[in-house]
């Protein structure tokens, strides 16, 4: 379907009272992604409404049958800070209308370009951008490190079911962490229950040694990342006969390649 089709949605400028609908639409649209700040009224008000280069005219909502089904916030400079739409709507027409409005707003303010950061997987946005003559550029590179590994491990363990019958006591010796961070992590797996602590185990079944970069990479990576780190000697497991069982336990604490989407509003 061409994006030139007739208008289907009622587009209007933001009005006081739209906030909660916008926030819930945004959080719903990106619920399957990670990498962004979940919107709350306080955060959104600061991040969008109070932003100096953004006027209320730059905030557009799309309404369908009295419901907010689309939203875009664009700065006078042409930077689209937030963009989302209800996936249950006919997306192509909606995305096209919202983007055209952003382009008009940027042109009215003399912007030299319009830019939008969107999830790579969003084919509707990609197709519409292609039709509207957008080019693609790389996103800014994201860098991170995990500081409180026991906390993240415990939170992930709370959400996972461990296989019964697996009995392991793993002691992880962390290298290169700030002095105030835990330097040891003990993982006890007993009859399906997992306990994570910062105690030093007396008789671990396996000892793991890794630095801050490796652990950060492994948490956000896949099981392959773990094996790669072992092969490259960045993650050492002793005794070597426990490698397979230890990897099995460590892989339980992985976020398994979450899709990271970063709206510009969070950092730009």
């Amino acid at each position: 379907m061409s994006v030139q089709e007739t208008r289907k949605y009622n587009l209007r400028t933001y009005r006081t009272g739209d906030e909660n609908d916008i926030i819930s639409l945004f959080n719903k649209a990106y619920e399957h992604y990670a990498g962004f700040v979940p919107r709350t009224l306080e955060y959104w008000t600061w991040c969008i409404l109070s932003r100096p280069d953004l006027s209320e005219e730059g905030i557009t909502v799309a309404i369908d049958k009295g419901r907010v089904v689309g939203y875009a916030a664009v700065e006078k400079s042409g930077k689209i800070l937030e963009f989302c739409y209800d996936p249950s709507c006919e997306g192509k027409a909606l995305v096209s209308e919202l983007l055209r409005r952003c382009i008009d707003h940027a042109e009215d303010h003399g912007a030299s370009s319009v830019s939008l950061s969107a999830p790579l997987q969003d084919r509707i946005v990609r197709d519409v951008c292609e039709e509207l003559g957008f080019t693609e550029e790389p996103p800014p590179s994201l860098f991170l490190r995990v500081l409180d590994i026991p906390y993240i491990f415990s939170k992930i363990a709370d959400q996972r079911k461990m296989k019964k019958g697996l009995e392991e006591a793993i002691l992880i010796d962390l290298r290169g962490y700030p002095p105030w961070c835990a330097q040891h992590i003990a993982i006890l797996v007993q009859n399906g229950d997992v306990t994570v602590s910062t105690e030093k185990l007396e008789r671990p079944t396996a000892n793991v040694e890794a630095d801050i970069s490796t652990i950060s990479r492994c948490i956000f990576g896949s099981r392959r990342t773990l094996y790669k780190a072992i092969l490259e000697r960045r993650l050492k497991i002793r005794p070597s006969r426990r490698i397979l069982r230890t990897v099995k336990v460590l892989s339980m604490f992985q976020l398994r390649n979450p899709s990271l989407y970063m709206p510009v509003a969070d950092f730009g």
Partner: protein, 268 residues
């Protein structure tokens, strides 16, 4: 006394606040209004996470971390800190001060219940500085930036960036010195523009004023081409499939190809 110990890194005291703001305004060309919004009005702002480097009672560097809640998987959000606005006064650059400020993260994030720190920077900077110092690792994201140029003023900025590269690279400078090539670009997502390459610099010309030696038309985005590690192969494939068309002599085309790395600055 080592150069590094000339500096005291401390939490931003009330008094030199204006000096820090001036440093940020000078370094990043941010407005006072934007800085006030970003820090003072930010609901998550924590003054103890703004640090300054002092030298003889003057603020000569600063760094800050913005705490927030960050979604790290579909169902898990944690407290994280976004590293922001690292600046060093131009008279104190090249003395290791930026490294001191980056490494101070290990001290200043203590007792803030921060589980993760993250930021956006160039891959080269993180590989050589942030990585070895604090263990930041690059995380591939699922974000893409779509951009539509509304007028050529941004291309003018990119041409200026290319000239800075030419100035700092003797090899490229010598290559340019032997050229006088006028190239018209008709690329997807960009307004048509013409540049003159050589003999002393690269300049943006007004279209239709000069007959171009080469015309480059492309139906794909140049990001697609330049993100590929096998750039030459990608370029040849695009030429064979007529996704890129170059009109002009083979000699001029080869001249242009010899500058493809530099042109990547212009086109991505």
């Amino acid at each position: 006394m080592s150069e590094e110990s000339q500096y005291q890194i401390r939490v931003l005291p009330e008094k030199p606040r204006a000096e820090r703001i001036k440093l940020l305004v000078d370094t990043f060309k941010m407005s006072n209004e934007f800085l006030e919004w970003k820090y003072e009005l930010n609901p998550d702002f924590d003054r103890s996470l703004v640090v300054v480097a002092m030298n003889s009672g003057q603020v000569v560097g600063c760094a800050s971390w913005l705490p927030r809640t960050l979604k790290i998987s579909k169902s898990l959000s944690v407290r994280a800190a976004l590293g922001a606005d690292l600046a060093v006064h131009r008279d104190h650059r090249g003395r290791g001060l930026a490294k001191l400020l980056i490494a101070s993260e290990n001290t200043f994030l203590e007792e803030k219940n921060i589980v993760m720190s993250y930021g956006f920077a160039s891959s080269e900077l993180v590989e050589h500085v942030h990585g070895p110092l604090i263990g930041l690792v690059e995380m591939p994201t699922d974000t893409i930036v779509y951009k539509k140029y509304l007028n050529p003023s941004e291309i003018g900025e990119k041409v200026a960036k290319m000239n800075r590269i030419v100035e700092s690279d003797e090899k490229i400078k010598r290559k340019i010195a032997g050229l006088d090539l006028v190239v018209l670009f008709h690329l997807r997502g960009m307004p048509e523009f013409t540049i003159r390459i050589g003999p002393n610099a690269i300049s943006l010309l007004k279209n239709d004023l000069t007959q171009p030696d080469l015309k480059v038309e492309s139906a794909i985005t140049f990001f697609d081409l330049f993100k590929s590690k096998k750039r030459t192969l990608a370029l040849v494939r695009a030429l064979l499939t007529r996704k890129i068309r170059i009109k002009g002599s083979l000699r001029d085309t080869l001249k242009l190809y010899s500058l493809s790395k530099l042109l990547g600055t212009l086109l991505t």
